[in-house]
């Protein structure tokens, strides 16, 4: 277990400091729960602003917050804009599911990567297309046009989904690519998960991508996706955890798209908390740095208990170990902040 190095004036806990974080709106429900219970047990207030991953990163770069949270690792330009090295600590695992409105279907719709790319590229335009029928034997598919629903606002969810499509389809990679907003070849845009969900609910024959937690909470139908090993996987906390149970790179920026895990759901992704490696910067006292590291350490350990109830997948032991190592590499004035204790 990692705990605090008691080498400094951190014990002045009488002072009421609070931490400010901003970023991923997808993480917000989990973070709210975590931060509330952290405040109950440790008395440290955490103010988290759910402004979106990109907003969190730019606020971190401007050094107006103590930590950021993002569904996507920082890109090259953001790295170059950042005044110092930023650590990525994996904090939870999420998935993007394909929800659809086909009430005549009794069974769960099964989709393959190629069909998925074909649908979103606008090449498969009818539900009774032979490519879809081949994946769903014994299912009568309606003679109905496909309506694609996608996010209209820039979002980490879109980035996770388009990264997956870029990985499994060369045509998608060259024609559309990956990003928080892309040039959609087909379909309608809805603002936020609720906007996309609204379009799907209203339009007979619609299919769109939303976050798992949102789909579960709103009891929406979603499809099974064929993964690398050829199995059709239903997105569940178990199948996302399976996808995330991989050897971690040292920087924590592991991609879970199109996972090798046989039981893993292929459109899963880590979500990261972002913080500066060197915590000694302007207007950032040692107490804040220590408090932040203590909080993050709690989040990847005890905090994980809150995941499943809110439809987030808890981190695998591999990811927790990697996160610990990353947190230990954070320094204040060159000195490590967290030290090993048993």
């Amino acid at each position: 277990m990692v705990s605090l190095g008691m080498l400094s004036l951190l014990s002045c806990s009488g002072k009421s400091h609070h931490l400010i974080g901003a970023g991923s709106s997808f993480d917000n429900p989990l973070f709210s729960k975590m931060f509330y219970s952290y405040f109950q047990s440790k008395g440290m207030k955490v103010n988290y602003q759910s402004i979106g991953s990109g907003g969190g990163i730019s606020q971190l770069i401007n050094r107006t917050i103590d930590f950021g949270a993002s569904d996507v690792p920082m890109n090259r330009e953001q790295d170059s804009l950042s005044p110092a090295r930023v650590l990525h600590v994996p904090v939870t695992v999420s998935a993007v599911v394909l929800s659809y409105n086909l009430p005549e279907l009794r069974d769960t719709l099964r989709l393959s990567p190629r069909v998925l790319a074909g649908l979103f590229l606008g090449r498969i335009t009818q539900w009774n297309d032979t490519a879809i029928a081949a994946l769903n034997p014994g299912v009568t598919l309606p003679d109905l046009p496909v309506v694609i629903a996608h996010r209209s606002d820039g979002s980490g969810t879109t980035n996770i989904f388009t990264s997956y499509l870029s990985l499994i389809s060369a045509d998608w990679a060259s024609g559309v690519g990956r990003g928080s907003s892309v040039n959609w070849p087909a379909g309608l845009g809805g603002k936020g998960n609720e906007g996309v969900a609204g379009l799907i609910r209203q339009t007979h024959g619609a299919i769109g991508y939303i976050e798992l937690a949102f789909a579960m909470q709103n009891k929406m139908a979603f499809g099974k996706i064929r993964n690398k090993t050829g199995r059709f996987i239903t997105p569940t906390i178990a199948s996302i955890s399976a996808a995330a149970n991989i050897p971690m790179p040292a920087d924590g920026k592991a991609s879970l798209a199109d996972t090798d895990a046989p039981d893993g759901y292929p459109i899963s992704s880590f979500s990261w908390v972002l913080l500066y490696k060197e915590q000694d910067y302007r207007h950032h006292p040692r107490e804040k740095a220590v408090g932040l590291l203590y909080l993050l350490d709690w989040m990847i350990h005890e905090g994980q208990h809150y995941s499943s109830d809110l439809y987030y997948a808890p981190l695998s032991p591999n990811a927790v170990n990697a996160g610990e190592a990353i947190l230990r590499s954070a320094t204040y004035d060159g000195q490590p902040i967290l030290t090993h204790h048993n």
């Binding site: 991953s53 990109g54 330009e77 309506v147 928080s180 907003s181 040039n183 809805g190 209203q202």
Partner: protein
């Protein structure tokens, strides 16, 4: 009390009490000072507003320089908006903004003019007029996100049924037409209330003269009221156009948010304001952000141009 503004007061030899004269002089000077302070406050307030507008324009221009440098005029005429490849063509959004706003205007004109005439000429007072007046004002007070929800839940399915009857090959409900309908409802109060005030301002004796000559109510409205209030009605409609151009939330919820050039009025599209609101927070590249700010600049300029044209037309009407 004597409050003479003709200061300074020249002491007349008839007044013997010099103390009272000095008092009056002092008060006069205070009045003068008060006057100039008031004038300066007004001037400063006005100047601040001008500086603010210029400041916004300047910020928009300087922040869009990276995008202008990369894309030049292609920004306006290009029809591809692809943040991944740094290709930003705003034409579909420009078209979407103008289409929805003008269509909304066309839909709203008969309603707003009718309400203005009804409240201005037929029933200026009474309980029914009060109810109607309050209802119209309430339309302006409802937050736009509520219009968006209402549009998505009620209007869009109706439009979808309409599209299915017209034989549109993919009846979606969302699109340019739904956005225009929502916008037209939102802008009615602006046009209607200004129009009503203008109609109330038509001199009573003109109307009485017309009635005296045997004109019917319709003839009075047609030949006396409307000619006199043309510019006012137009100004109200113009004001509402400004509102329609910049409306974001309600539009984004029902327009379908597609960057593809709309093929017909029922097709999904997008507007400049809606794109900015959707993509601004997650614009993760300098050029992307700059392109969105340039979109804001374009919206600013479109609004200015339409206002200038409107002023010109108002001037022509009033000089007739």
């Amino acid at each position: 009390m004597e409050t003479s503004l003709q200061a300074p007061v020249i002491p007349s030899p008839a007044v013997k009490d010099t103390v009272s004269i000095r008092k009056r002089i002092r008060r006069s000077f205070r009045q003068i000072r008060m006057e100039s302070v008031f004038k300066q406050t007004l001037a400063i307030a006005g100047l601040l507003l001008v500086i603010l507008v210029l400041g916004i324009l300047l910020t928009l221009i300087t922040q869009s320089i990276p995008s202008i440098r990369l894309l030049g005029l292609k920004f306006i005429w290009g029809s591809t908006w692809n943040p991944v490849k740094d290709v930003y063509g705003a034409f579909p959004f420009l078209l979407g903004t103008l289409l929805t706003s003008f269509l909304a205007l066309v839909i709203c004109i008969p309603f707003s003019v009718a309400i203005a005439i009804f409240l201005g000429e037929y029933y200026p007072t009474g309980w029914f007029a009060d109810v109607l007046k309050n209802a119209v004002e309430l339309i302006a007070a409802v937050p736009s996100v509520i219009y968006g929800f209402w549009g998505l839940a009620v209007l869009v399915p109706m439009v979808r049924a309409l599209e299915a009857r017209f034989g549109v090959d993919q009846p979606l409900g969302v699109g340019i037409f739904s956005a225009s309908l929502i916008l037209s409802v939102m802008i009615i109060p602006y046009a209607a209330s200004l129009g009503r005030q203008m109609i109330r301002m038509v001199p009573e004796h003109l109307k009485e003269a017309a009635y005296g000559l045997g004109a019917t109510r319709w003839e009075v409205i047609r030949h006396v009221v409307l000619p006199g209030t043309k510019s006012g009605l137009f100004a109200g409609i113009l004001l509402s156009l400004g509102r329609a151009l910049g409306e974001t939330m309600a539009v984004t919820m029902v327009i379908g948010n597609s960057s593809i050039l709309p093929k017909n009025l029922f097709a999904p599209g997008n507007t400049m304001a809606s794109v900015i609101a959707n993509e601004f927070t997650e614009a993760d590249k300098t050029v992307y952000l700059s392109a969105l700010i340039e979109l804001g600049l374009a919206l600013f300029l479109v609004t200015v141009i339409i206002n200038i044209i409107g002023k010109k037309i108002i001037d022509r009407f009033t000089n007739e």
